[in-house]
């Protein structure tokens, strides 16, 4: 495992290769969080209980906050929020296809299994970033880790309860079988830049190491609940990391940016923006 024995410095200190590697790491994590948050919002008035409505809305808000921290780190290289989000194209995004899939209608098991598979991977990824050679990544990781603990706990507690019910356990297993190949895309490379991300110490674990750590943890927990973990599954056809997405992404992106376009906006607005008062 590589360790961060170098300090890359501020955005302006990076050479071209270092900058590309930092950006590549930031884009994938920002996009993952952003799209995961968006999909969660579907459940916030549809979850099984009022408490779970609130919990899922809260998790969504957490992920949006984290996406914002990562996109802001990207903006320090000169990008704007408009170019990154509202005026970009769906094929610009590099999130894992796990987070873009629509939920199977009425299938809460889909939501909790997806959250579980994602949040364990997120936990491992953050631990691989907490000693990053890039200070801006390192500094933001601790804040995010403090807010992520609950996510894994929430997903685990739902899965633990659902496997006790004869119908629900079948839905959990079906969701696991369906989502697992997509979860594997979380550990796919975005391209050749991957070796630089490791060599420069931007992330201190390789994708393979993170995959192994994730698989061990997921398998131990789920097998302990008598679920079959499809560890021999092949990665999904569309991996997202290489900008190739499922057919479900373009319509979601269209929906996420529709207000901006329909209102003829040319800049992102914020609450209490002086220009909009």
């Amino acid at each position: 495992m590589a360790t961060a024995d170098t300090n890359l410095g501020d955005p302006g200190d990076l050479d071209e290769r270092e900058r590309q590697a930092v950006e590549a790491q930031l884009f994938r994590i920002a996009d993952d969080e952003y799209v995961q948050a968006e999909r969660y919002t579907f459940w916030q008035v549809r979850a099984p209980t009022l408490e779970s409505d609130l919990a899922v809305a809260n998790n969504s808000q957490d992920e949006l906050g984290h996406a914002r921290l990562w996109y802001e780190a990207i903006q320090q290289f000169g990008y704007t929020e408009e170019s990154l989000l509202f005026e970009s194209n769906p094929e610009d995004f590099q999130h894992s296809t796990l987070v873009e899939l629509p939920f199977k209608k009425g299938d809460w098991a889909d939501a909790v299994v997806r959250a579980y598979l994602y949040d364990v991977a997120e936990d491992i990824r953050l631990s691989a970033l907490e000693n990053s050679s890039y200070e801006i990544i390192r500094d933001r990781t601790s804040t995010i880790q403090g807010e992520e603990d609950y996510h894994v706990e929430h997903a685990q507690s739902w899965i633990e309860r659902m496997v006790l019910d004869d119908d629900a356990v079948g839905r959990v297993q079906a969701a696991l079988n369906r989502l697992y190949p997509y979860a594997l895309t979380l550990f796919e490379p975005v391209g050749d830049v991957e070796s630089d991300i490791e060599a420069f110490g931007i992330r201190t674990m390789s994708l393979d190491e993170m995959h192994t750590a994730w698989e061990n943890r997921v398998e131990e927990f789920l097998t302990g609940l008598n679920l079959d973990v499809p560890t021999d599954a092949e990665v999904a056809e569309h991996i997202g990391r290489d900008n190739n997405h499922t057919d479900d992404w373009a319509p979601l992106f269209e929906e996420m940016t529709s207000s901006y376009r329909n209102l003829d906006r040319n800049k992102a607005t914020v609450i209490m923006d002086k220009d909009n008062e």
Binding site: Q61, D62, L64, G65, R68, D139, S142, I144, E147, M272
Partner: protein, 144 residues
């Protein structure tokens, strides 16, 4: 007159819901947050202005919440380094705009800029004693 429905009775042995945990963390002593204690002159005026800014969701000053990590004043420009209690804080723009506005309202300050920082991450032990008192009055309960 009796009712079929018995109201639940308070459990005299009950303790407050203990689920909410406020983590405390080790922070380098005395570095952050800063509260402007012992500040003088124009710096003191800016601190006094910052004290007036409250969290939009709780009647407690952002300074007492421990959100301000640094203040430097140079030739009419106030540079304020601060954090937020939560990365997804919905009141973010409201707080930041108000901080800049109150700092700029101080005589001899022409511009104020806020820089958000996320390290060290904020936790309950950043709150000053006065802040804890305000939160208690507001009805928030936490361990001493």
């Amino acid at each position: 007159m009796s009712s079929d429905y018995d109201r639940p009775r308070a459990d005299t042995d009950a303790t407050a819901c203990s689920y909410t945990e406020y983590e405390t963390k080790e922070h380098a002593d005395g570095e952050v947050p800063v509260t402007g204690k012992n500040a003088t002159g124009i710096e003191r005026d800016v601190w006094a202005a910052l004290y007036e800014v409250e969290d939009p969701e709780m009647p407690v000053s952002i300074v007492d919440l421990g959100l301000v990590y640094g203040l430097t004043i140079e030739s009419g420009t106030a540079d304020i380094e601060m954090t937020l209690t939560y990365s997804g804080c919905p009141a973010r723009e409201i707080i930041l705009e108000e901080v800049e506005a109150v700092a700029e309202s101080v005589d001899d300050i022409e511009t104020a800029e806020v820089h958000l920082v996320w390290s060290p991450d904020w936790s309950m032990d950043m709150v000053t004693d006065q802040g804890k008192e305000s939160l208690r009055e507001f009805g928030l309960s936490f361990e001493q």
